[in-house]
Symmetry: C2
Subunit: 221 residues, 2 copies
DNA sequence: TGACGTGTCAAACAAATGTTTGAATCTTGT
DNA sequence: ACAAGATTCAAACATTTGTTTGACACGTCA
């Protein structure tokens, strides 16, 4: 009769294989993208048999869908959209919280550090999963940012100018992940994206954006 | 004895096969990315035999390298970095020209319309070609933007604050391509990226950025 | 005309990949 | 202990892909 730890080391049991596959798939999909990720590599990392993907998820595509859903859920759990700020907080504070939480999600370290990279890939090469992801996760965030910007500009969130400004804000956040291979080559001495650096960028993006937004308010009076 | 146009319709000649491969490869690589693009599809579109890629370019990877070099060169030819503005022009005008030319390159229509998409892909999934592309093309542009921003802020281009602000400017431009699948789903009624829309975005990005930059000047005195 | 170099071709090759299959093993409940 | 369902396994399958190969066609030059 082997001890519990020996059993775990030898063979995963119950829903554990499913979870191991999810985690391993996240990594591999982030590194290689959907098409280039191989079921064999995912199963190798998960310590599972090749047929496990079909058994637990149906096929590779459904595994991918599950991974997207899972990772986005995990990230929003860890870093809620406004990091716990109440709706009545000043819009400037809310903008900073929105920016910081987005950056934290993108540059998360630890078991789900592949999230940011996976999202960046999905943007460039959308799969069938993007439709539901946009509706479930991205649109709510887009609406929220629109409300914050609209509050600062004292305009409805659906206003064209509000929308353009919201794009100007969110683009500054996503940039650091999308262009990181170029950035690493342009500025090899830039420090790692640790929480201090992330906070610094969030401060800059907020400051830059607020200054710009304030000028849009003045112009419109 | 067939006429000239009949010969062209039947079989490409001289360096024409090489050129057809370059163009077709640009399209396919932009659509599918380097790894997923197949030599068979490229040759099918070019009307060439499978072995032509190895004959003219050595292998798939060298073809890709050539395509990147070719397309970037074509774009800079068509839309020079400052669209012909002299170095003594006001920095505000130079900033607008930089932004507009970058957007025009990214959203070019016509035979090399795949350029923007190809560049977005290369950012996310760098190949060996990115190193030389960064040195030959991207770094000069980065230096130029640093100079423009430095001129506005009255600081050296290598200043940390100048660099952060330059990122804030360029990120607003690349965003529209990187996130276009999401944007199409969030706002399905947005108009196409015609020259009018591109000009509108360039105006907005310049205005937003100038307002922000002006506030950085004031703070530093 | 013959030699040489360039360019094209179809077939072959070796490797990789997601999915399927039937057998074996494990787990749970009676 | 046995039955039933769940889970895992190795092998097989069918398809795809970049590269190679040797033959052929074409153009140029002495």
């Amino acid at each position: 009769m082997r001890s519990k730890s020996e059993i775990e080391a030898v063979a995963p049991s119950h829903d554990e294989t499913r979870q191991l596959l999810l985690e391993a798939a996240g990594e591999v999909f982030a590194e290689a993208g959907f098409r280039n990720a191989t079921v064999r590599e995912i199963c190798r990392r998960a310590g599972a048999n090749i047929a496990a993907v079909n058994y637990h998820f149906g096929d590779k595509e459904q595994l991918y869908s599950e991974v997207l859903r899972y990772s986005h859920g995990k990230m929003l759990e860890k870093y809620p959209a406004l990091l716990g700020l109440p709706a009545e907080a000043p819009p400037e504070k809310k903008l900073h919280a929105f920016v910081l939480s987005l950056l934290l999600r993108i540059f998360d370290t630890g078991p789900t550090s592949w999230h940011g990279r996976l999202m960046a890939r999905e943007m460039i090469e959308p799969t069938a999963a993007l439709d539901s992801l946009v509706e479930e996760r991205i649109r709510p965030m887009s609406i929220q940012l629109g409300q914050i910007v609209g509050e600062i500009l004292n305009r409805p969130p659906t206003d064209e100018g509000v929308r353009m400004c919201a794009f100007s804000v969110v683009s500054q956040c996503t940039f650091y992940k999308h262009c990181s291979p170029v950035m690493e080559r342009l500025f090899p001495k830039q420090p790692d994206m640790d929480p201090v650096a992330i906070g610094h960028i969030a401060d800059h993006v907020t400051k830059f954006s607020l200054a710009a937004l304030k000028s849009f308010v003045e112009k419109k009076r």
